[in-house]
């Protein structure tokens, strides 16, 4: 199953980093290909993401469920394609690192069904750039808020 873990150091204390990460509305738009999202309640939302897998791009909508929310520690969510045979998991975890914070982003996406293995083969290589891009933007935004 294609997955990626990416860690960055944020030049901001843990509280400030968590304050930003704890609310999905603050960061979902930094996901590459983000088009829009709708929040249905505290734990349920739908995301529309235009996934570019190199050979083509496609807008896919996911039902997102916040599975776990541990204050000051991590937020874990699961994804399920609304009409696509795809599912996945993700998390954002924060850990104090002196005056800074270590931010770890995890994402796994898996296509199912008959042609799932081929979709997964094209998904695999794009997860790393997605994670790097997302974490980079997140860090920049948190540091920008911290500086202001």
């Amino acid at each position: 199953m294609p997955d990626i873990t990416h860690t960055e150091t944020v030049k901001a204390p843990l509280e400030a980093t968590w304050d930003f990460c704890k609310n999905m509305n603050n960061w979902v738009q930094y996901l590459k290909g983000y088009e829009k999202h709708e929040e249905h309640n505290e734990t349920e939302s739908t995301w529309w993401i235009k996934g570019d897998v190199g050979i083509m791009a496609k807008t896919v909508s996911f039902k997102v469920h916040i599975d776990e929310w541990i204050d000051g520690d991590k937020i874990t969510f699961s994804l399920k394609g609304v009409s696509e045979n795809m599912s996945g998991k993700g998390s954002l975890k924060v850990e104090a690192d002196g005056d800074n914070t270590k931010l770890t982003f995890y994402l796994e996406i898996k296509a199912g069904g008959l042609i799932g293995p081929m979709v997964n083969a094209v998904l695999g290589p794009v997860l790393k750039p997605i994670a790097t891009d997302f974490a980079g933007k997140l860090v920049a935004r948190i540091e920008e808020i911290q500086a202001s």
Binding site: K50, I55, M56, L114, M118, A121
Partner: protein
């Protein structure tokens, strides 16, 4: 037309514009004939429409069918091709194609290492004189793109036709009718290992042959204007890194820049009928056509396209433009029909896509209206359970772009199709399906139709009832693999001047030229075969010219 620069940025003997099958073959031949060759490509990747295609050439009377014991002859090929061209192409051009295509394909096999295999695919009019039920359409092998070295990343990626395997293996698996016959785990491994198939394989092999020969290839270098002197084309103004880039070509320029299907202006000016969706990559904007018009080329076959009933699925893009998909089994397999807004069938849906697409142009003179636009493919749950519909494998859930109804009436209402019309059509079609004979359009009566159907479905491989709810409809419109009008050429591929005579130093090959099949499509691979063959012919002639 650009003026001659004081200093050329690059000097070559033969300049080829475009890196599809036509351009790559032209470059290989020009090199092998002893000339210095430069190939320029507008896009950042190599391969054009050829790379995203099935990668088949259609070569009548080829050596592979002879080896396989399939009979064919020059006479049969000529009879058939003249029928296909329908009197709209000079006989001498048809003859040049028929005589050179087998020589070209043998040369490419021997000297460029691209070995095709005979496919089971029948000609598109297999029942007509000279038509064959197999042998002329040649399937590409699998290709290891790692052999391209640092050019691997420059091989254009196909968005739809992506099976990383040889056509021979694909055909044997019968995955066309039942995709469950393929091992997708193995295909995924192939893909990750850099194995490519279909059009990417054809292009990969040809590109490798160019690289092995040290042919100079410049990507992201669009040709812009031709430069002539004393009536002969001597060079081109291109663009490189945002600057004008002047290339001298002492023996000739071969335009191989594909069709004009991505130019809305040219489409409107030249192609009658409803608008059509381009299925090629977006860089095919008719540049070569405009360049040749600017120096007085005679044009031909401008109103013809390589048509195909196509669909766009919401949210899919290729290089920032909407991606269009061709329909094949969706129309031809059992349990599906194609209807217009009156709910009426209007064609043998399983027949060759090029001629089926022509029916979208049918006009009701009184209503001054295109009667078959819009159209829908209508199918039922039996289809969904047994076959693949575009991106949806058998047995998987319906997608939002599929209109659904629990009854035929409900489906008709949802889609905006005449309810009574559709009900009558489905009832009548189900009768044909049960008998195995389509009395209205003869679906399943040709070898071509049956090849597109399900070999395990009897008595007629293409006919199955539409009776199991839910029912589905998907909108289908005219699309094009490419256009096929452009500068007319002589038997050497040299471009003709509109006022008579030839334009010295200028050649055209492939979809950029006035297509030598006229309105027709001989069989799977006719477009690639024509491109490769005219690239071969043009290069042979250009390299025999004295250097200017």
């Amino acid at each position: 037309m650009a003026t001659k620069p004081e200093k050329w940025d690059l000097e070559t003997d033969v300049l080829v514009m475009g890196s599809g099958c036509s351009g790559l073959v032209a470059a290989i031949i020009a090199h092998d004939e002893g000339s210095k060759v430069t190939l320029i490509e507008k896009a950042s990747t190599i391969g054009g429409a050829t790379a995203v295609s099935g990668g088949f050439p259609w070569i009548p009377n080829n050596h592979l069918e002879k080896e396989a014991g399939i009979s064919d002859s020059r006479e049969e090929a000529l009879t058939y091709m003249k029928f296909i061209a329908d009197g709209q192409v000079d006989d001498e051009l048809v003859e040049a194609f028929i005589d050179t295509a087998p020589v070209m394909i043998k040369y490419i096999e021997d000297k460029a290492g691209l070995k095709f295999t005979v496919s089971e695919m029948p000609d598109y009019h297999d029942t007509k004189p000279g038509g064959k039920s197999k042998g002329r359409s040649l399937g590409p092998p699998a290709f290891d793109s790692n052999l391209l070295g640092e050019w691997k990343g420059r091989l254009r990626q196909a968005p739809v036709v992506i099976f990383p395997m040889s056509w021979e293996d694909f055909e044997k698996s019968n995955a066309k009718a039942d995709p469950r016959n393929l091992d997708y785990g193995m295909l995924a491994k192939n893909m990750m290992a850099g194995i490519v198939g279909m059009g990417m394989s054809t292009i990969g092999c040809l590109l490798k042959a160019c690289l092995d020969r040290g042919i100079e290839i410049l990507v992201e270098t669009p040709g812009r204007e031709l430069i002539s002197e004393n009536g002969a084309v001597i060079g081109m103004k291109a663009q490189k890194d945002g600057n004008d880039f002047y290339i001298k070509a002492s023996q000739g320029i071969i335009l191989a820049s594909g069709g004009f299907e991505w130019s809305n202006d040219l489409k409107k000016q030249f192609v009658p009928g409803p608008d059509f969706l381009p299925l090629s990559p977006p860089s095919n904007e008719g540049d070569g056509l405009k360049m040749s018009m600017a120096i007085g080329a005679e044009l031909g076959n401008m109103h013809q396209i390589w048509g195909v009933p196509s669909c766009q699925l919401q949210g899919e893009e290729y290089e920032g433009k909407p991606l269009s998909r061709m329909t094949m089994g969706e129309r031809a397999l059992p349990h599906s029909i194609m209807v217009n807004r009156c709910g009426e069938r209007f064609v043998d849906e399983a027949f060759n896509y090029s001629d089926v697409a022509k029916t979208f142009c049918h006009v009701d003179p009184l209503a001054y209206d295109l009667v078959n636009v819009p159209a829908w493919v209508v199918f039922d749950q039996q289809f969904m359970d047994g076959y693949m519909f575009l991106t949806v494998p058998p047995g998987e859930v319906a997608q939002p772009w599929m209109i659904q109804g629990d009854t035929i009436e409900e489906l008709a209402n949802e889609a905006g199709i005449d309810t009574e019309g559709l009900k009558e059509t489905v009832t009548r079609f189900n009768g044909f399906a049960n008998k195995g004979e389509d009395l209205d359009f003869g679906r399943g009566s040709t070898a071509y139709d049956r090849y597109q159907g399900d070999p395990n479905h009897k008595p007629n491989e293409t006919l199955g009832t539409i009776e199991k709810a839910p029912f589905y409809a998907v909108s289908v419109v005219r699309g094009a693999l490419g256009t096929k009008g452009g500068p007319t050429t002589d038997v050497n591929g040299q471009v003709k001047h509109v006022m008579g005579g030839l334009i010295e130093g200028l050649y055209a090959a492939g979809n950029v030229m006035a297509g030598t099949s006229g309105p027709g499509y001989g069989g799977a691979g006719n477009t690639i075969a024509a491109g490769m063959t005219w690239g071969y012919i043009a290069a042979k002639h250009a390299t025999r010219q004295p250097k200017r």
